[in-house]
Symmetry: C2
DNA sequence: TGAATAACCTACCAGTTAAGTTGGTTTTTG
DNA sequence: CAAAAACCAACTTAACTGGTAGGTTATTCA
């Protein structure tokens, strides 16, 4: 289990995609300027997200990234696992040291918490709704809102 | 918010102290051999834990570290914050980007979860009790069990 | 009193990871 | 064809992790 700025970048970017599920694909250039992350670094993160089938890329003009599944079926843990790529899940467990066993138990509980937090319920919090409502009031973003790009 | 192996080391070490609250101070050499972490690295972690008043050191022969407060009053978040030393707590919030606002909300919820998980309830889980019972059956550790060392 | 124990302290270091840069190519749209 | 954008790979730099080395101080006990 690990949670770093890298994970934060990935999660916030996914929030962005989830918030614009209706508006067609979101280009990385947008996320890059909006959240001041370098484009290339975002590309690296999205390569991993795509490999883990959390997003799909749409090439060409008007392209970008969309969620590969509905936001209700993508958990925060999914995203963190995708960009962390840690193969061995908390392998500490050496010869039953009590303290380490306790860690494993604790981290499993933490994971199960993160496994149940989906993108959908994160963006549908009261606070989130207030924000995205305000956002819809202005004309969303700089991009021509194309309905149903796929 | 971050959670790395460093945090894991600190938390498992604190589990160790909590499990031996009755037996007087626990020397770092013990934790070092038990959990195969270098002594010096443990010393660095405990310097931070001490600075944050989560543990107290007892010098000299038969010394070691004790919890500075009862285990019921030390949360996992306390420990992670002590060793992480991140000054600015999730300062992402730039000009109200919706995705970043959502991250802040999410991480606050995660923290509040970790703020309510105390050492005491971690070590008193059914699984933990089974383990430490087994541990008491043998004569605890290699150390002469002195009652009330302070 | 002196040896052993253990906290406490400082400086340093190697390896990994994060984060970003550069410089492309391919695909798609207009 | 030109522009937009995904896609790709190699490289760089800075930070952090985890660990070493070599001390000093305080305390206990024989």
């Amino acid at each position: 289990m690990r949670l770093s700025t890298k994970g934060r970048y990935a999660v916030t970017a996914m929030f962005d995609l989830a918030l614009h599920e209706q508006d067609g694909p979101v280009p990385l250039t947008e996320i890059s300027t909006c959240q001041t992350i370098s484009l290339s670094y975002l590309e690296q993160l999205f390569a991993k997200l795509r490999k883990h089938e959390l997003v799909v890329g749409v090439r060409g003009v008007g392209g970008g990234y969309r969620l590969a599944r509905p936001a209700t079926e993508i958990s925060i843990a999914d995203i963190l696992r995708a960009v962390d790529e840690k193969v061995d899940v908390s392998r500490a467990a050496q010869k039953g040291d009590p303290a380490q066993a306790l860690w494993i138990e604790f981290s499993e509980q933490l994971y199960s918490y993160l496994d149940h937090r989906t993108l959908a319920d994160c963006i549908s919090s009261p606070y989130a709704l207030r924000i995205s409502a305000r956002q819809d009031g202005e004309h969303a973003r700089g991009i021509p809102t194309r309905q149903n790009a796929a």
